[in-house]
Amino acid sequence: MRTIIIPFTNSAFRLIFEDCTLADNFAATFGPASPYEERSDRIIEITGKGNMPYSVRLDGKTVRDGLSRDEAAYSVSRVFGDDICSHVSASVCVMHAASVLIDDTVVSFSGASGSGKTTLSLFFSEYGSYVGDEYAFLDMETGRLWHEQHPFQLKESNAALFIPDIASPAVLAVQGEFGRAYYASLAFTNRKNAKHTERFKLGVLVFPRFDPGYGQTVINNLPMSKLPDVVLQSLMGQAPPSLLLGRFIKMAARERLKFLEIRFSDGAGAAEKLYAHIQKYTGETKR
């Protein structure tokens, strides 16, 4: 049995593992056990070994059971995510998104798992600075966005990006492996520069659609009729979804947010084309 403590901004988690390999990987991802033990207020228990089914309990209650090791790891990361959402204020929403800073404006990529937002954002970070993945915090009164540290899952399709020899310079470490998938802790540029609390103006929200057989990249303005549905799919927060949507749209109008959709199969090519598209749009807006 192993126990590691993971400090988050608002809570600390005491993870109790029966499987030492899984514990080692989490510890490697989040760093060594810290002096935050006394702050630990959530207890996650993970039981199961090797190929045996895993179960995940939170504060004594079963979250899920009959899980594979990958699923158990993912389930734990979801607990972290739910905890993040429970601490945001009414004026803040949490978006399922990855973000890149270009000049002084953030381009965020939002979409469901498998949509390619992580892949595209990592390629896109070659043109700017990686800000974060998974949970983007958006203050709907100011239109400013930031990320907090969170592990994220890399699929085999983009794991190669994280091999140090060929990695994006924005990505500094791969730590921890769970079966076929990887969980990485990024040394985000902002964190490296001790500016992780800085909030950036959100300028463009991109909804990617990764389509391996498509063979080309097509970028369009998001049809506004799709806006409510796609936004609702990625927003989380304290208020009911419909209220969040209304506040989000008012913010988007006030801040003149740009919405794009991109269908792609080649991440590098798509990122290059998207960067040119946004630069052109930004230039036209400034004129």
Partner: protein
């Protein structure tokens, strides 16, 4: 007597589109035709002027334009995004 936005409802402009947003959360994205109809009814032009404006801009017949306009306005009223006069 004419239509007006219900209390707490605003018209936001995103990417060249009008979006009706209610404080309680209802949202309606308007296409160009819908925006044209709403502009007219809110400007005291009523359904008649809205239909005329649609016919000026788009190739459709009067009956269809009127039916579409009435259905659209009724839908907004049902969602309590607009109301008639001092309702």
């Amino acid at each position: 007597m004419n239509y007006e936005l219900c209390e707490g409802v605003t018209i936001e402009h995103i990417d060249g589109h009008n979006v009706l947003v209610a404080e309680k959360g209802d949202v309606a994205v308007l296409n160009r035709t819908a925006s044209c109809i709403l502009d007219n009814v809110l400007d005291d032009g009523g359904i008649e002027n809205a239909v005329k404006s649609v016919l000026d801009k788009y190739s459709t017949d009067g009956d269809t334009a009127r039916a579409d306009a009435e259905e659209f306005i009724a839908g907004l009223a049902e969602k309590k995004l607009i109301k008639f006069g001092s309702e």
